[in-house]
């Protein structure tokens, strides 16, 4: 009986570990998909409302639809130097973002608001395309890795249990 309970506990814990790892891996894809939508909506807002970048970013980042980007919130405390703050925050996200993601976000913020409406449309859409490229190449791999993590979790649990018995 103890052996069965022990086996179940081992399998349960390794499976949980596997799920945790796979969720962490998939988190980046969720964020990238959110960034893709975010760039599009920033462009729409610029064209539609012509509000300042600070107002647009505050409105979007604080909204529930972009909760994956909530790590950017603290960059919006100072109305004057917020672009530098946002870039700093992006570059600190080593766990959530890959270098290429950080580069795209940094480029996006650096050129944000620096041109007229047409220029901003082109800029936002080009950043959106870059995110799409990253998603295309990384999404499949990431999903495979996530599945592998899930399987590994279960299998390693079973393996350890057999080994212990």
């Amino acid at each position: 009986m103890i052996k069965i309970v022990g086996t179940l506990l081992i399998v349960a814990s390794t499976t949980t570990l596997g799920i945790m790892y796979s969720t962490a891996i998939k988190k980046r894809i969720d964020i990238l998909e959110t960034i893709y939508r975010f760039f599009g909506e920033v462009a729409e807002e610029i064209r539609h409302s012509r509000d300042t970048t600070y107002v647009i970013l505050s409105r979007l980042i604080k909204s529930e639809r972009y909760k994956e980007l909530s790590f950017l919130k603290e960059g919006l405390t100072n109305r004057r130097g917020y672009i530098e703050e946002l870039i700093k925050i992006v570059n600190k996200q080593n766990n959530l973002l890959a270098e290429i993601d950080k580069k795209i976000l940094t480029d996006f913020f650096l050129k944000l608001g620096k041109t007229d409406v047409e220029g901003q449309m082109v800029h936002s859409l080009s950043c959106q395309q870059r995110i799409m490229q990253v998603l295309k190449t990384d999404k499949e791999n990431t999903m495979k890795k996530a599945k592998m993590m899930n399987s590994l979790g279960v299998l390693s649990g079973i393996f350890i249990s057999i080994f212990m018995i």
């Binding site: 970048t53 600070y54 004057r80 608001g113």
Partner: protein, 317 residues
């Protein structure tokens, strides 16, 4: 009022480099109150226009015309100041920039000098290589329209007369119109304020930063001629107020409003009534009957003081 003035000055300080902001912040309150303009030119000394004189200032010093080590603004600093003025969002201000000015959140107006970018060889679409910025500090003076308010209302205060306030630049026309909107609103009149350059109400994120009255509807950023028509159609005002008319479309708009039964109170640049009559557009406007009174402000009367009230059509009486 002092607090509001200080807020407007603080708005200027917030876009200046720290060393400059610290120097200006340390000035005596009376000096600050009299600063009308802060002029910034690339690689040249910062200039303060105090009342009507121009002064330089050294770091940590006092304004003086003969200043040994005046604060020099570098071109990088000027670009950064301009970015801050535009809140890092040039597209938001692209139409204003094309017209050579930007109105800051607190109503301060920034004139731009640089190289014009033309489209089709004639239409200015932007300015590049900006080499000079003139920050004009907005003034909100409650009571500025006291001399005018009773002149434009009929004895029973039921009707408002169309009026024009004229003066050379910097004589307080905008300040008078702003207070007029507030006072007419207090008297229970529905006012439509056509604030093309956002100088009258200084609307920031939908909220007016200046007190223009509780019965005042504000149309910001809309060309005056279109604003007048829009207000007539949608806001049913009892009076329309707009600043600095001059173009033929704007004059036509004022006449259209008269024919719709709504008086317009506006301002225009002119040194005197005689000069005004030399401009065909205004001659046409005065002959139309849309303007019943012209208020003249000039150097004789001083800033914000009415020198002459002319009843149109009775000039020779």
């Amino acid at each position: 009022m002092q607090r509001r003035k200080n807020l407007k000055f603080a708005g200027v300080l917030s876009v200046l480099p720290e060393r400059v902001a610290k120097t200006l912040e340390a000035l005596d309150g009376k000096i600050i109150e009299n600063i009308h303009e802060v002029r910034l030119r690339a690689n040249k000394p910062l200039t303060l226009t105090i009342v009507n004189g121009n002064y330089f200032i050294a770091e940590g010093g006092l304004p003086a015309f003969n200043c040994e080590k005046p604060i020099i603004i570098s071109d990088e600093e000027l670009n950064e100041i301009f970015s801050k003025i535009c809140e890092y969002s040039f597209y938001t201000y692209q139409d204003d920039i094309a017209n050579g000015f930007v109105t800051m959140q607190n109503g301060n107006r920034v004139g731009i000098a640089g190289t014009a970018v033309l489209e089709n060889g004639s239409r200015i679409v932007s300015f590049k290589n900006i080499n000079s910025l003139n920050i004009r500090i907005s003034r909100e003076v409650k009571g500025a329209a006291n001399e005018i308010i009773n002149e434009i209302l009929t004895e029973d205060s039921k009707e408002i007369l169309g009026a024009l306030v004229i003066s050379p630049p910097k004589f307080g026309k905008t300040t008078i119109l702003r207070d007029l909107a507030r006072q007419l609103s207090i008297k229970g009149k529905r006012v439509a304020l056509i604030d093309e350059r956002n100088e009258l109400a200084a609307v920031c994120e939908g909220m007016p930063q200046n007190d223009v009255g509780k019965l005042t509807d504000i149309l910001t950023g809309i060309p005056k001629d279109k604003g007048i028509l829009y207000a007539l159609r949608n806001l049913s005002p009892e009076v329309i107020i707009c600043d600095e008319i001059g173009g033929s479309a704007e004059i036509d708009g004022v006449i259209y409003a008269l024919n719709a039964g709504v008086p317009v109170i506006a301002s225009a640049h002119s040194g005197s009534y005689e000069e005004l009559l030399k401009r065909p557009g205004f001659l046409y406007l005065l002959n139309s009957g849309a303007i019943k009174k012209v208020f003249v402000i000039n150097s004789k009367s001083g800033i914000g003081k009415i020198s002459e009230v002319i009843e149109v059509g009775k000039e020779n009486d």
